[in-house]
Symmetry: C2
Subunit: 81 residues, 2 copies
């Protein structure tokens, strides 16, 4: 199965989502590594998610929101999506 | 890469998301096939998304929301996520 990357994202939605995750993480003074571990996501993958370089799955967004202590919809609302 | 299915979803989030998509589609009197075609998603895959049987990618949720004429966050808010 071909990996869908940011190349398929004509709208910039992945970058907006990643920036929203990064902003919430920094507000909580969490390192990217700590957030990745808490969300049980590979550290390198978390970096790509924050940079909008990977088409993140819904369950990973749910896990990231849980690790950030917010609702999944909050991340999207922050991102204006 | 192993496919992450509903088996990995301990929270029921995929089912909630799928039900929210289905409810908005029915409100618009769209068939599942019409929504799939409009969102450029395989028809069989759309059925699995609506039933919460597949870990949908973020860009597919964005495409579905665009096809439904709503914001991506609206789908999550409907789903209480």
């Amino acid at each position: 199965m071909a990996r869908i990357s940011a190349k398929s994202d004509n709208t910039g939605a992945l970058e907006q989502l990643g920036a929203s995750i990064r902003a919430r993480r920094k507000l909580q003074k969490l390192s990217q590594e700590a957030l990745a571990d808490s969300a049980q996501i590979d550290r390198a993958h978390m970096g790509k998610i924050e940079r909008g370089e990977r088409n993140v799955t819904f369950l990973n967004i749910v896990r990231i929101a849980a690790a950030l202590g917010c609702r999944t919809s909050d991340i999207l609302l922050d991102a204006d999506l």
